[in-house]
């Protein structure tokens, strides 16, 4: 199993896309945090968490990394040599899940680094000080949300082998459908909204009262990963490999 995980990590290190995604995370999260701090929008009880919430906007890119880890194999046909080396497909997919989790943690750390490297000095000039325990908790939650997003990406990839299809589905769901449901919610009031996957993920770094608590969001997100991944793995085991 260790070999399979190392191989998956090597797959990510030997192409350019993950590097591009990491750079995009730095830019997007950096801009989001700068905009939030600059607009003086840190009003909630935990300013550290508000900063993390702003930086979390790029976690969709960690999800795309997870999607790529699976769908690249089908797009370029490398799934054939991969399954030749390791015919136990569930082990290959599990290795991808673990590798994506590790990559998600790394990208999450990058986002956290950028977020607080911008926020701490900026607020310090206004005489505000960040840091200490609240910051550590916020960083931990932010990193966790990136790792979870990457896991969801792998699960989506195992279900939808088409790269374009999987990315479009992820964007459509997390950036269009769920925000739309929340928007309509003003009209229809739908109490199940906090249990949607994107909302569960957001709960990790949000101070919004309408969302679940962070631990509940974490557990629910893991449950989503488990169900999607199990379904995708069953499909992959039953289908022919192509």
């Amino acid at each position: 199993m260790t070999g399979l995980v190392l191989s998956e990590l090597l797959k990510l290190r030997t192409i350019r896309a993950p590097l591009g995604l990491a750079l995009a995370v730095i830019v997007v999260s950096g801009l989001a945090v700068a905009a939030t701090v600059g607009a003086d929008a840190l009003e909630s009880s935990s300013r550290e968490l508000d900063i993390a919430d702003a930086a979390e906007v790029s976690s969709i890119l960690a999800m795309i990394l997870g999607i790529l880890l699976v769908t690249n194999e089908y797009r370029h046909g490398t799934i054939t040599p991969t399954f030749l080396v390791a015919p136990a497909r569930e082990r290959v997919l599990t290795a991808k899940l673990i590798a994506a989790g590790i990559a998600g943690v790394l990208i999450g750390c990058l986002a956290a680094l950028v977020a607080f490297a911008i926020a701490i000095p900026w607020l310090a000039t206004d005489g505000d000080s960040l840091g200490g325990g609240d910051t550590q908790v916020a960083v931990l939650r932010l990193v966790g949300s990136f790792a979870l997003a990457a896991l969801i990406g792998v699960a989506v990839g195992t279900l939808i082998h088409s790269q374009i299809g999987a990315i479009v589905a992820a964007f459509a769901w997390f950036l269009v459908v769920e925000p739309l449901v929340w928007g309509l919610g003003e009209l229809v009031d739908w109490s199940l909204r906090p249990y949607l996957p994107g909302s569960a993920l957001d709960a990790l770094v949000s101070t919004d009262d309408e969302l679940l608590s962070a631990p509940s969001g974490l557990l629910l997100s893991l449950a989503y990963v488990g169900v999607l991944f199990a379904a995708g793995t069953l499909l992959t085991l039953r289908r022919d490999a192509d």
Binding site: L10, T14, R16, H76, F83, L84, A86, A88
Partner: protein, 292 residues
């Protein structure tokens, strides 16, 4: 050792392979022949566990591929030429496979040298020619020093020197006692390379035998003479079958000695007297029923 028993694979309404049984033996190169769409690739993919047979089975070294303990050390397979991420270098492609298989990374350098790709190893596969991709795929198959090689059209995209190199490589693999199963639709290639042939057409096995048996046929002689009419009479009088081959030549179903003696007895001048062997191509076309 590869054994295929009553293998059937159905894709929806299409029966790609129907009840095929054959084997490939260690120490021999087995050519797997058939026209395009005959079911060669389907059969090979079933052998290495990428497809689930509808019925029947395929085993390698006595086990289904998926039950092998360390498949990369048992079987090396080349199935398509394009199984690479275009942005990854050839060397890294091999390292990814080696790490997954628990094979030392340094082995990547060994096989790169073996397939004569070490100069291009650091370049992205995007810039590789078809021939280079074939070599890289072959390098991947050789990583684990497997006892069994399964190759689908490995000569595609190789230049004549590359084909010769491939032939030598596969012959020496067989000489070391490995089992080599290699599919092709280019018959000339196979007749120079294979010991045994398995011929498949429209999903059904046509024959399995040695190349020598398939090409043996009866004695056949090509004979040229300025007096072809009299020669023809003499051949017919001796009860032999012939057919015209141009204005001054015949092909007679008999050994050259017999044809020569007949001509001498009648005092007929001959300009050419050559033994003809059926080529694998002729035998193949006969077996699969013409154009394929």
């Amino acid at each position: 050792m590869i054994e295929v028993s009553n293998l059937t694979k159905r894709f929806g309404r299409v029966l790609a392979v129907e009840d095929a049984s054959f084997s490939a033996q260690p120490g021999r190169v087995t050519g797997f022949l058939g026209p395009n769409g005959a079911g060669k690739t389907t059969t090979l993919r079933a052998i290495v566990g990428l497809l689930q047979p509808t019925s029947g089975s395929a085993t390698v070294l006595g086990k289904p591929y998926r039950a092998l303990d360390q498949p990369s050390r048992c079987v090396g397979a080349v199935l398509e030429t394009s199984n690479f991420h275009p942005g990854r270098s050839g060397r890294n492609h091999l390292r990814v496979l080696a790490v997954a298989a628990g094979i030392p990374r340094s082995r990547a350098e060994d096989v790169l040298k073996l397939v004569e790709l070490d100069d291009a190893a650091g370049r992205r596969v995007r810039g590789y020619s078809l021939g280079m991709r074939q070599r890289l795929a072959l390098a991947g198959a050789l990583l684990g020093e497997p006892d069994v090689l399964v190759l689908d059209e490995p000569a595609n995209g190789l230049d004549p020197a590359g084909i010769r190199w491939l032939r030598d490589l596969l012959r020496s693999a067989a000489a070391e006692g490995r089992t080599v199963l290699v599919s092709s639709h280019v018959l000339g290639e196979v007749s120079q390379l294979a010991d045994d042939v398995v011929i498949i057409n429209r999903g059904r096995l046509v024959t399995q035998s040695t190349v020598a048996e398939v090409t043996a046929g009866g004695d056949r002689t090509r004979v040229r003479s300025p007096d072809v009419t009299r020669l023809r009479e003499a051949v017919a009088a001796a009860g032999l079958v012939d057919r015209e081959a141009g204005t001054d030549a015949l092909v007679v179903e008999a050994a050259p000695a017999r044809v020569g003696e007949l001509a001498a007895a009648k005092g007929i001048v001959l300009h050419e007297l050559v033994a003809e062997k059926a080529t694998l191509e002729e035998a193949f076309l006969e077996l699969v029923g013409g154009g394929g």
